[in-house]
């Protein structure tokens, strides 16, 4: 645990990027940079962060950064990690380099799941951070495997017959933990200390580590820009986004929520759920509350909390 004053003033992710006002990714990446412990290389999948932070000839990055394609942040990271091992073996390199793969929910849950799974199975020493804004935001808010039930996106619109996405969100950490990796965790940018601690933990683990962080999106979740971090707090306080970690298969709840707010508190400030407050779809609010409750129960039981 650190205090804010102890965190470095150095900004390795500079101002001047073109992320939206109030973008959760901007906040999360700045926090990530505060947790670095030495030489670090980033591989970044195609998405909001990649596109907005490197519009030629401008770059916000002050550490080595590579973007290759949408679905392969984990594969590119695997290649970099392997290369440094080989270079060290022939005495062409003598320091440890931390490799961090950053991708959105699209580049992780859907198109990127194969590369991530392969990298985890091969046990590359790297940290994978999924910035989850719960849709393909960069291409204009289309649904992903991370989009929650009932959310309106352009490919799961709030129609008169179908009120937003019918399916439910994939359990990313469950999938990652099933690979037997040493460290996987969820996080929310409101809880900056928890997140920064987790990034450092993920870097220190030898082998793959995954952090899944809730990333508020101003236009995509249709919130006021100023309420971005507030939303990240509500996500946790309504138990919508449990914050826990899995170390060598053992689950531990990091942020206890003894008196949860009802999930409607989280839903009602987001325009993407606005349609669910109409009379004919209000039962969906119960469905979501039930999902939140069941998910919370499942996670807390795994964590050994009653």
């Amino acid at each position: 645990m650190v205090t804010l004053k102890e965190l470095t003033k150095e900004e390795l992710f500079t101002s001047g990027h073109r992320l939206c006002e109030g973008c959760g990714e901007g906040t999360i990446v700045r926090m990530t940079m505060k947790a670095l412990r030495g030489a670090t290389i980033i591989t970044n999948a195609t998405g909001c962060l990649e596109v907005a932070s490197t519009i030629y000839p401008y770059t916000s990055w002050r550490i080595p950064w590579v973007h290759v394609a949408f679905e392969n942040a984990a594969a590119v990271a695997s290649g970099i990690e392997a290369a440094y091992k080989a270079l060290a073996r022939r005495n062409a390199w003598d320091r440890h380099v931390d490799v961090i793969a950053i991708a959105g929910d699209g580049g992780t849950f859907d198109i990127g799941i194969q590369a991530l799974s392969g990298a985890l199975e091969r046990e590359h020493d790297f940290l994978y951070i999924c910035l989850d804004n719960e849709a393909y935001m960069n291409t204009g808010i289309q649904r992903s495997g991370a989009t929650p039930h009932g959310a309106a996106t352009t490919t799961s619109p709030a129609g008169t017959k179908i009120p937003g996405k019918p399916e439910f969100k994939k359990d990313l950490i469950g999938i990652c933990a099933a690979h037997g990796i040493k460290y996987a965790a969820t996080a929310s940018p409101f809880y900056w200390n928890d997140y920064i601690t987790k990034v450092r933990k993920g870097l220190e683990v030898e082998g793959p580590a995954v952090i899944h962080v809730f990333s508020p999106c101003t236009p995509g979740m249709r919130i006021e820009a100023s309420r971005s971090i507030e939303l990240a707090r509500l996500a946790v306080q309504t138990r919508y986004w449990p914050v826990y970690e899995v170390e060598k298969g053992k689950y531990k709840l990091n942020i206890k929520v003894a008196q949860p707010k009802p999930v409607v508190d989280f839903l009602k400030i987001q325009g993407r759920f606005r349609h669910l407050f109409e009379p004919q779809f209000q039962h969906e609010l119960d469905t979501i509350q039930r999902w939140v409750d069941e998910n919370w129960k499942r996670i807390t039981e795994l964590c050994g909390e009653s």
Binding site: K9, G16, M31, I55, Y56, P57, T59, S60, A225, S226
Partner: protein, 101 residues
């Protein structure tokens, strides 16, 4: 500081002089791109109220809060006026004021 406009060719390198592979050699060159003109409202810090908790600093997506000795200040070159700082400030030391240009 020149704005990057897609249509104007002025000052842009040709294929013979560009570093190969589209590589960018200058770290943090985005600092040359001032996003401050995105704002429609700007945060004003009441230094008397600011207790230097630094929450606005850590949450700002644009690194537009400056850590001074005892209080914070806003870097208006980059501040996009999102208002997160005003929203999170525990002592309400920051107010968003509409900005007209």
């Amino acid at each position: 500081m020149k704005r990057c406009t897609a249509l104007s060719d002025a000052g842009k390198l040709g294929w013979k002089s560009l570093p190969i592979g589209g590589i960018l050699l200058e770290p943090g060159s985005a600092l040359k791109y001032k996003t401050g003109d995105w704002r429609s409202s700007k945060p004003i810090v009441d230094e008397a109220k600011c207790n230097n908790c630094l929450l606005c600093w850590i949450y700002c997506p644009d690194a537009a809060i400056i850590r001074k000795e005892k209080v914070v200040a806003v870097n208006y070159d980059y501040c996009k006026g999102c208002g997160i700082c005003a929203n999170v400030c525990p002592v309400k030391a920051i107010t968003m004021v509409e900005e007209r240009r």
